[in-house]
């Protein structure tokens, strides 16, 4: 099988946009990585032209930490791109194996920041910085790959009307990407900050059980400062990471060089670098603590029964078990179907909306915590929510505090107070 003059040797990997092969270029007698776009991703001629135009720009990038693009072409009804063939391992694989020490982590981040600074100066934004796009070569080099040619968030009209779900990982997206705004190089630096946080702290800064929760975390939540999780992390490195993760691009590092310089100064802190290995494996939320908080809340919580709910799985919604109820209002519960599989639905009576049955008054100490009811953001504490009777999942969230979560059965008319005493992390 050939694409243009390139002879396919073997498949290296598959993604939402297409397949990457190892191929041979007989003209120069060398191996290349050949990325072939899925035929159905080639939307129209406008898309093809834009792809070639962007490939030309990226082909002009020449940096030791950026994978070189050699050629682009069309064949078999699609588009291919020939790139430098590397032997090495993707960063995400290396992270998983936990073989990196802190000095190496900072060094790799520094090289990526440098590469990004170079690309940004040429007017090119990567738009998809994540560990799998950073390759550690067998020779010990760091290479950034997959510069944003014609991504799924492509702005051509035809692409935009194509309904789709995000199949990749959204963990590294910047707030402005999630909010669908225009992005510049500072978005890439935010993503690099997410990677650095994950490597140093041992868990991702923005997590969630499903896409909606992750997107919300990225736009709304301020992650716990690394120093508050591990006191051995130097304040300068902790501050650096938090600066990179600022919601407002103006408050982040403005250039790759600026971020690189800050990273260099962290390399000077020898005591930290010589300290035992930093955690690379994910840390789990201490469930016991959450339970204690729930019990404390119960003391001040009247008019409703509550019980704890394990962390909700992927996009699970709940079903009203009492469908025959005359009440035509929105209620939710949980369904386990006969086959034992968790199914989820939300049942709603839509016609004549009934006045609220109860008022749930949520307060917290400290206040200004975010309140989610059945995964839907309701506002910040103190807040009064008018609700029909039913079961609800309530989450109360404040940066630097353990999340509080419980399921409530509200069946008492009038006011139902709920006070949540949040416990600080660390």
């Amino acid at each position: 099988m050939k694409y243009g003059r390139y002879e396919i040797i073997k498949e290296l990997g598959k993604g939402g946009m297409g397949v990457v092969y190892q191929a041979h270029d007989p003209q120069i007698d060398r191996s290349v990585a050949l990325k072939v776009l899925r035929v159905d991703r080639v939307v129209n001629e406008e898309f093809v032209l834009r792809f070639f135009k962007e490939a030309k720009f990226i082909g002009r990038l020449s940096h030791p930490n950026i994978v070189t693009v050699y050629d682009v072409g069309r064949d078999h009804g699609t588009i291919y791109i020939a790139m430098e063939y590397l032997q090495g391992e993707a960063f995400n694989e290396v992270i998983r194996s936990g073989r990196l020490n802190v000095e190496k982590i900072i060094d790799i981040t520094l090289q990526v920041a440098d590469a990004l600074g170079y690309a940004h100066n040429k007017g090119i934004v990567h738009r998809d910085i994540k560990p799998s796009n950073i390759i550690l070569t067998d020779e010990g080099g760091v290479k950034l790959t997959d510069f944003g040619i014609a991504r799924s968030e492509d702005s051509t009209a035809a692409q935009q009307t194509q309904t789709g779900v995000i199949l990749g990982t959204p963990f590294y997206m910047s707030p402005e990407q999630v909010m669908g705004k225009r992005v510049d190089g500072r978005s890439d630096l935010f993503s690099l900050g997410v990677i650095l946080y994950e490597l140093i702290v041992g868990r991702k800064p923005f997590e969630g059980d499903h896409f909606t929760a992750i997107f919300r975390a990225i736009t709304d939540d301020i992650p716990v400062a690394p120093l508050r999780i591990d006191a051995s992390i130097p304040p300068s490195l902790s501050d650096l990471i938090m600066k990179a993760l600022s919601k407002n691009p103006d408050e982040r590092f403005q250039t790759g060089k600026e971020m690189g310089d800050a990273l260099k100064s962290c390399l000077q802190i020898k005591e930290f670098l010589l300290s035992p290995e930093k955690p690379i494996s994910p840390k789990k939320k201490p469930v016991a603590s959450v339970l204690i908080m729930g019990l404390m809340a119960a003391v001040v919580f009247g008019g409703a029964i509550y019980f704890f709910w394990p962390h909700i799985n992927e996009l699970i919604r709940k079903e009203n078990k009492g469908e025959s109820t005359v009440t035509e209002s929105s209620q939710q519960g949980k369904l386990q179907d006969k086959s034992g599989n968790l199914e989820s639905l939300s049942s709603t009576r839509v016609d004549e909306s009934k006045p609220a049955d109860a008022m749930l008054m949520v307060t917290s100490s400290p206040s200004q915590a975010q309140v989610y009811l059945d995964d839907s953001f309701k506002g910040k504490t103190p807040i009064t929510l008018e609700l029909p009777f039913g079961k609800y999942e309530v989450r109360v969230n404040l940066p630097d505090y353990y999340e509080w979560e419980a399921q409530l059965q509200i069946n008492t008319p009038g006011k139902t107070p709920l006070h949540v005493r949040l416990i600080p992390i660390g």
Binding site: K14, G16, R38, V39, D40, R41, N44, E153, S155, A157, A158, Q159, Q160, T161, Q162, T163, G164, V165, I166, L167, Q177, V178, M179, G180, K181, H210, F211, T212, F215, R216, T219, D220, N313, E314, L315, I316, R317, E319, E323, S324, E328, D337, N341, L342, E343, S344, L345, S346, S347, T348, R349, V350, D351, S376, F377
Partner: protein
């Protein structure tokens, strides 16, 4: 059993090479549906067809139109279609990402049951009021709800095509079931986003309010989308309670 008039139309639009939308009207079984496939060319078409065929099978096998049975049938149609698509993708991994949105409305003696997943929509006109009954399971809807973006910003959102739920995508199925009563004169509109992305609600409602036959209303809506550029497939189904 109440009498219901139906009419539906689908059009490939002016940009896409193929039509990934499907619709089905079964007056004898008391239901109709609209499904918008995704996952690229053949896969998208197949996904919406699987949904349609599955629903037809489920409703053919059980003609009991009581409220409880209707709810069960709607759930079963979604669950079975979901499982069938997942199974198909398992055997055809290159079709990963294949799935569909789906709107199904089934009528019983007292009212209606809607099953909804994705960003296709169901509207209703009752007593001169035009109301969107379903809520889009889309990223932009979530952000609008939380006040992160305004509806105006949503129009230019680069991820405005991203939906958070679909049939055949995630391991678990997250289905919205909506139930209500029906009254003579109620008019339900089921449509794919090819209509609502191109035409604003007030214009849609104007067409629905017009004193014309259902066939003319559907023709008019499709025609308006095509005049506006027809960037996506368009599907419109109307159901009027007599």
């Amino acid at each position: 059993m109440m009498k219901i008039n139906y009419f539906g139309k689908t059009d490939v639009g002016l940009v896409r090479p193929n039509n990934e939308d499907t619709f089905l009207i079964k007056p004898d079984m008391g239901f109709c549906l609209v499904s918008d496939g995704m996952g690229g060319a053949a896969a998208g078409e197949l996904a919406s067809q699987i949904f349609t065929e599955t629903a037809l099978k489920v409703f053919s096998a059980d003609r009991d139109q009581s409220e409880n049975r209707t709810v069960e049938k709607v759930k079963k149609a979604f669950r079975s279609a979901h499982e069938r698509i997942l199974k198909y993708v398992e055997g055809n991994p290159h079709h990963q990402g294949m799935g569909c949105t789906a709107e199904l409305i089934a009528f019983h003696e007292q009212g209606f049951v809607i099953g909804h997943i994705g960003d296709s929509r169901i509207y209703r006109i009752r007593n001169g009021q035009f109301k969107q009954l379903t809520k889009d399971h889309s990223l932009i809807q979530d952000q609008i709800d939380r006040g992160v973006i305004t509806p105006t910003e949503a129009k230019n959102h680069s991820l405005r095509n991203v939906i958070l739920r679909a049939v055949g995508i995630n391991e678990s199925l997250a289905l919205d079931i909506l139930m209500g009563k029906t009254y003579a004169g109620d008019l339900f509109l089921l449509c794919s986003d090819g209509l609502t992305d191109m035409i604003d609600d007030p214009l849609i409602s104007q067409v629905l309010y017009s004193d014309t036959a259902l066939s003319q209303k559907t023709e008019k809506l499709v025609e308006m989308v095509l005049s506006a550029g027809g960037k996506d497939n368009i599907t419109v189904v109307l159901a009027e309670i007599l």
